[in-house]
């Protein structure tokens, strides 16, 4: 607040009349600044805001994408809530999220801790190395993983055969598909989250550790008493971003097992389901409804995570 505390109060009437003009004249006065920031807002309005609002409208329409739209009331939402395939997709997405996020964030923390440790040499090399998967093309990664987990001629089954184990038909089982997808997510995102954690670790003042050492705290104690509490906001950030990312998982299962989600639909995630309903089955209105259903799910989930991560440390 840069304004002086004791500002002479204006009479209310004057205020109301001139409010609008003041507003527009303020904009006019700063027109250059507004012009300078306008590209973002114009692009956002065209490619962000409009599609969001339009999809809201579309979710109450019946539309095959080409012919006339017809009003469909809440039928799209009703169909969604009663479609077992939708719930299967929700279940699959949550399972894949759980399988991937927990090991991913845990190993990211470990990697960050190691990268931060003073005994590690060539730190920049490792940092780049761990981050590299994140900038690799997703489709290429999915194709590589599909050859690893392939049923009969996969790399993993080859390794199994070297040890005399029976091959596993990974992609013929729901859990196998979900495991493969989770592995892809973990492989891709550990480095990214580790770098974020590393930034967090480096911002913790070393005085705290030194003080703890003098008081006789062990390494484990200082990890749980100093590192974790100080990292909490950063952990919250990574949990929420991976929730949003995890709920929107699409390319990995699509390239791995195709539009139907593979054996028994084990890889059918919400976005894959949405994609199939819209672009294979031509239900544009219904797809929008699914998009909004997903929005609600992500919001609920993020709030839940927020409460959990925030609440558990409030001792």
């Amino acid at each position: 607040m840069g304004e002086p505390l004791r500002q002479p109060l204006e009479p209310r009437q004057v205020h109301a009349v001139s409010a609008k003009r003041k507003w527009s004249s303020a904009i006019w006065k700063h027109r250059k600044e507004y012009l300078a920031i306008s590209p973002f807002y114009i692009l956002f309005a065209v490619f962000g805001l409009f599609p969001i609002l339009f999809s809201m409208y579309l979710s109450f329409q019946k539309w095959d994408g080409i012919s006339e739209m017809t009003f469909n009331g809440i039928n799209n939402y009703r169909f969604m809530l009663t479609d077992p395939e939708f719930w299967k997709a929700v279940r699959n997405t949550l399972l894949i999220w759980i399988y991937s996020t927990i090991p991913m964030l845990f190993s990211a923390l470990v990697v960050a801790f190691l990268l931060n440790a003073s005994f590690v040499k060539f730190r920049t090399f490792f940092r780049i190395g761990y981050f590299l998967p994140n900038v690799t093309s997703l489709v290429a990664v999915s194709i590589v993983f599909s050859t690893i987990f392939s049923n009969n001629y996969g790399l993993l089954n080859y390794i199994f055969s070297l040890f005399g184990l029976n091959p596993v038909e990974w992609l013929n089982h729901t859990w196998g598909i979900q495991l493969a997808v989770s592995f892809m997510v973990i492989w891709r995102w550990v480095g990214y989250n580790a770098v974020i954690y590393l930034a967090g670790l480096q911002s913790i003042p070393s005085v705290l550790y030194e003080a703890a050492k003098i008081d006789g705290a062990s390494g484990v104690q200082s990890f749980f008493r100093i590192t974790l509490p100080n990292l909490r906001p950063i952990i919250l950030f990574t949990v929420i971003t991976s929730t949003i990312g995890g709920m929107q998982i699409f390319t990995e299962p699509q390239v791995l097992v195709g539009n139907d989600g593979g054996a028994n639909g084990g890889g059918l995630t919400i976005v894959l389901y949405l994609y199939r309903e819209v672009f294979i089955n031509n239900y544009f209105g219904y797809g929008s409804a699914v998009g909004w259903g997903m929005f609600v799910l992500i919001a609920l989930f993020s709030i839940f995570n927020w409460k959990m991560v925030q609440g558990s440390g409030a001792k």
């Binding site: 012009l35 080409i66 054996a263």
Partner: protein
């Protein structure tokens, strides 16, 4: 100073917004025709030759990569002016409800060309109301691809005609599969997957899910739906399937390693097979398919209503798809002809090394002539997806009865949407 800065800023913004628009560089008398197709959907050399053939036309051919159908549909959905000429695949029926977004080719003079093309293929582009929205490019007649050496080892006939004689029906074909299982102890399977059999049985039929009034006929005896389902289930229960999804890397490996002795597929599988299984060159043969001739795939060209030059577009299309050029396209990019005259061309009789010197063109032209005209219905893909998913579950152990009922229930729900 500030003024120039403002100007530069404005210019930048304007340029940024304009960069999406393309600038046409045609001479005033030339008419530009935009054409959308996919890689290998048409012969690129012929498209280039259009320029010479039609001096007053400038053709702007765009290869649309990725998911062609969704890109076309989103363009149509946006309502903006799309291309003049556009290619469709066998999902042409999905566009019948929007027939008024395309020119009726009968109005442009297509009627006189009709006798030159295979009738069943031509009819696929005509709506039940008699509007012709799409003109045939290529066809996908089906046949049985089989490994001669593996058939020989199992004591099965090896000559294409003998094979067809002994395996004229799907049931007989499965019997041969059991023989293969005995001979190889289950290491070599008759064919690839459960969905393949379902698809191919339906590809041979003239009625699957819908009649011309868009009524669901899947439960009537005329429909091949249940028959195809039962045959597919039978093949799975007899252990004749390798359970590898078509055209995946698994499939390629299984073909190259000789784990699959045969499959029924369209003519375009030839190229895929040659790329997938180079080690088996010379060992494959092609015979008429069990169960009869069928068609799987094949594309079309249409003219969008937004086109300003429908007459020129139609002339270009007519030329691109005439019998002579279909022969050229077959030579260049393996597009199997839809024009009857092109089927008689000497090139169709050429011997192929990959197939041990057999001229498979003979088999496929026979098959192409034997296909029955069928009507697919606008929701064909939706229904096929539902049934295929349930079949997949059967292959993995679901009770066939339960799966069939689940499929029918889901189909009925789908029809009400």
């Amino acid at each position: 100073m500030t003024k120039t800065r403002n100007c530069i800023l404005c210019l930048l913004i304007v340029m940024f917004m304009l960069s999406g628009c393309s600038v046409n560089s045609s001479t005033p008398n030339q008419k530009t025709l935009t054409l959308w197709y996919w890689n290998r959907g048409l012969d690129d050399k012929l498209i280039q030759a259009v320029q010479k053939q039609f001096p007053d036309v400038r053709i702007n051919a765009q290869k649309i990569g990725g998911d062609f159908k969704s890109k076309l549909k989103t363009t149509l959905a946006a309502g903006s002016s799309g291309p003049d000429i556009v290619a469709f695949n066998d999902w042409v029926t999905e566009l019948f409800p929007s027939a008024d977004r395309f020119y009726n080719l009968y109005d442009l003079g297509a009627k006189e060309l009709e006798p030159d093309y295979l009738d069943w293929k031509w009819q696929l582009g005509v709506t039940p109301e008699g509007k012709m929205i799409a003109m045939p490019i290529d066809t996908g007649p089906t046949a049985l691809f089989y490994r001669e050496d593996l058939f020989k080892q199992a004591g099965l006939p090896t000559d294409p005609e003998e094979v067809h004689k002994q395996m004229g029906t799907w049931e007989d074909y499965f019997k041969a599969g059991e023989k293969l299982n005995q001979a190889f102890g289950g290491k070599v399977k008759l064919t690839d997957n459960i969905g393949g059999i379902y698809t191919q049985v339906n590809a041979q039929s003239d009625s699957v899910y819908f009649d011309k009034n868009e009524e669901f006929i899947g439960e009537t005896p005329a429909s091949s739906m249940k028959k195809a389902w039962d045959l597919a289930v039978q093949a799975s229960q007899k252990g004749l399937l390798a359970n590898t999804n078509s055209f995946t890397s698994e499939w390629n490996a299984a073909m190259n390693n000789g784990k699959i002795a045969s499959f029924v597929g369209a003519v375009w599988c030839k190229q895929i097979l040659m790329d997938a299984a180079p080690d088996t060159a010379g060992k494959w043969r092609v015979a008429r398919a069990p169960g009869g001739d069928g068609n799987n795939g094949g594309s079309f060209l249409a003219i969008m209503k937004t086109s300003k030059h429908p007459k020129e577009a139609f002339e270009v299309m007519k030329w691109l798809l005439n019998p002579d050029n279909q022969v050229t396209a077959f030579k260049d990019v393996n597009l199997f002809p839809s024009a009857t005259k092109a089927l008689d061309a000497p090139i169709m009789k050429e011997k192929e090394d990959f197939f041990g010197g057999q001229s498979t063109g003979d088999i496929f032209t026979e098959s192409a002539r034997g296909v029955k005209p069928a009507y697919f219905g606008t929701k064909y893909a939706n229904l096929n997806g539902i049934v295929s998913r349930e079949l997949q579950a059967v292959a993995l152990g679901k009770n066939p009865e339960t799966a069939w009922n689940a499929a029918l229930k889901r189909v009925k729900k789908e029809l009400l949407r």
